[in-house]
């Protein structure tokens, strides 16, 4: 059996070596296909991973807000039903909800019970910054710096200063560098902040955020939770809990559980970024269609090479059949020719893809003063996918003409020759 296979491979190899140019064209077709598949998919998969990481990590995996998806019924409605009540009440007073998450310590304890999860309470509110006659609004977020740094990546976004300085400096605040520029403020400068409740305090700039942070916006600033509560006139109140999980992909389930138990709106990063995730799906569909097209074109090369080989070798096919080679033998010879072309193409394509990735990986892009490199996924999985797809396409592309080779009737050839 192995003797037979060795002989058939020998014949297939001779055919390919005799037709060097066609062999070269077909293998380089596969090589280019595989090489670009690797480069494109490394870029797409890498950038997608990078993108999702950005989505997941800039903000907490789950944010619990002090609001509900639908408001709770008023006590009167709860007692007598919304419609068709047979009781008429006079002087009924609508109960005013006090904003803020009630019993937030219980929620934090619940979060702490999930292994690897951290919950960071915060209070956000609006203040007005006033410097030398200039006024600007600031969305101030009061945090506990030691916990918040473990929940989100805001400390990476700082141009200067650090979150811990909020604890060290009385009235410390961190704002965006573009806002600071608009107000002509620098590190260590003092700015007056007035809340909507009328309280005014002097704040000191202890840090600046980099420009262009999508999640932060240009008008947000961080303060110590305690000081924010006092500035906003809402002592002991928090209105947001950020939760970081050990497994970001469990965020949707955890958020659902928390919301069911405490009724507050718990938004997972998936929910928050549903539109982006939809975009990624489209991107993937586009990528895989382009890549399949590349591989398809490569397999056309194999089809052409093998079918030319079959057409050229009709006489040889007749000889081999008359000697006693079976139809299966002939089919196998030509399928192996296609597989060999695909295999050599794959190996060359791997090298090409590796080279392309190295070039792409060495490119540097200055963005907002930072040097950024393209995110590339260089895992061996891409190589294996490319190889498997090309070999399968090659085998199929070769099988079509190989079937014809098996069907060549030696009598037709012998008659024609005489």
């Amino acid at each position: 059996m192995t003797l037979r296979l060795g002989l058939l491979i020998h014949i297939a190899a001779k055919h390919l070596l005799m037709r060097r140019r066609q062999t070269l064209v077909a293998t380089s077709g596969v090589a280019v296909g595989v090489g670009f598949f690797l480069a494109v998919s490394a870029l797409m998969v890498g950038s997608q991973a990078d993108f999702i990481k950005t989505l997941i990590d800039t903000a907490p995996h789950i944010i619990i807000y002090d609001e509900r998806r639908s408001p709770p019924p008023q006590p009167g409605v709860a007692a007598f039903g919304a419609e068709g009540a047979a009781v008429q009440l006079h002087g009924y007073k609508v109960r005013t909800e006090v904003r803020g998450i009630k019993d937030w310590q219980a929620i934090l304890r619940e979060v702490d019970r999930i292994p690897g999860a951290i919950g960071s309470p915060s209070l956000s509110g609006a203040v007005t910054l006033r410097v030398g006659g200039r006024e600007e609004g600031l969305g101030v977020i009061g945090i506990d710096p030691s916990i918040e740094t473990r929940v989100s990546t805001i400390s990476d976004k700082l141009r200067t200063g650090s979150l811990i300085d909020l604890e060290r400096v009385q009235g410390g605040v961190i704002i965006g560098e573009d806002q600071a520029q608009r107000l002509a403020l620098g590190m260590g400068d003092i700015v007056a902040a007035t809340s909507s409740r009328g309280g005014t305090r002097n704040l000191k700039i202890v840090g600046l955020f980099k420009r262009g942070q999508m999640q932060l916006g240009s008008g947000s600033g961080y303060m110590l939770l305690r000081e924010a509560q006092s500035l906003l006139g809402r002592p002991f109140v928090i209105n947001r809990i950020g939760v970081k999980l050990a497994d970001p992909y469990s965020a949707q389930d955890v958020a659902k559980t928390l919301e069911q138990r405490y009724f507050y709106k718990a938004e997972s990063w998936q929910e928050r970024s549903a539109d982006f995730l939809g975009l990624l799906l489209t991107r993937n569909v586009i990528m895989y269609s382009v890549v399949s097209a590349i591989l398809l074109v490569a397999s056309f090369g194999i089809y052409t090479a093998v079918s030319n080989s079959v057409a050229d070798k009709r006489r040889d096919i007749a000889i081999l059949r008359s000697i006693g080679f079976s139809q299966g033998d002939l089919q196998l010879i030509f399928v192996m020719e296609g597989m060999a072309l695909a295999l050599v193409g794959v190996v060359l394509g791997w090298a090409l893809g590796f080279g392309l990735m190295s070039v792409l990986g060495s490119l540097e892009f200055p963005i907002q003063g930072d040097v950024q490199r393209l995110p590339l996924d260089r895992s061996s999985r891409q190589y294996l996918i490319a190889a498997a797809a090309s070999l399968a396409a090659g085998a199929f592309a070769a099988w079509l003409p190989a079937r014809k080779a098996a069907q060549v009737d030696p009598v037709d050839i012998l008659r024609g020759a005489v």
């Binding site: 000889i319 008359s322 006693g324």
Partner: protein, 235 residues
Amino acid sequence: MNVDEGAAPVLVAEQLGRDLPGDPPVTLVKDADLAIEPGKFTAIVGPSGCGKSSLLYLLGLIDRPTSGRLLLDGREVTPLSGDERARIRLERFGFVFQFHFLLPEFTALENVMLPIRRLGRLSLPEAEARARELLGSVGLGDKVLKSPDRLSGGERQRVAIARALANDPVLVLGDEPTGNLDSVNSARVVDLFRDLAHKQGRAVVCVTHDPGIAELADIRVSMLDGRISEVLRQG
């Protein structure tokens, strides 16, 4: 050598016929009755288009008859599958065609080794030794590593004969094996064929339009319009 009657025929054709489908169908061979005997050199002769090559392809199991029966050692081979017929060709038959029909990418030695390697009974070194011996026996011992396009027409035909003998066939079939050769090479090939029958005891069937060769055959089968018109025992 004993060439009298009595040896059981290798191959027997009974009312063998071959029609090409069409309207009306074209008859290539009709009602051919023939026994191919071991140790005999049988020549099939006739004008061009009389069906002699078609009959040879039927006898060689390359083509399938549309009527009649074909018996190999008394066993009917007509209904066998393509793979089974290929196996018989590989193990028991050897072919030599008018044009040398060697694989151009392979050396003379590799061409002769093809059927041996496909049969797979010998190891690669044994196959090579056998192929060298066969090439030596047709006088090409010094040209084993030449590729076919470096050989003369006569030499190529002798390589083809060596290849036909590779698996020690009981039946050797020639389709105008001398048709493309000059008289010297032609005579040499005919001598080889006669030796295959007379010295090695094989059944040899040759299609030829050369009256000189037909004269040298033990049995001369004449064909006309697809029918066997005469079977003549000579010598």
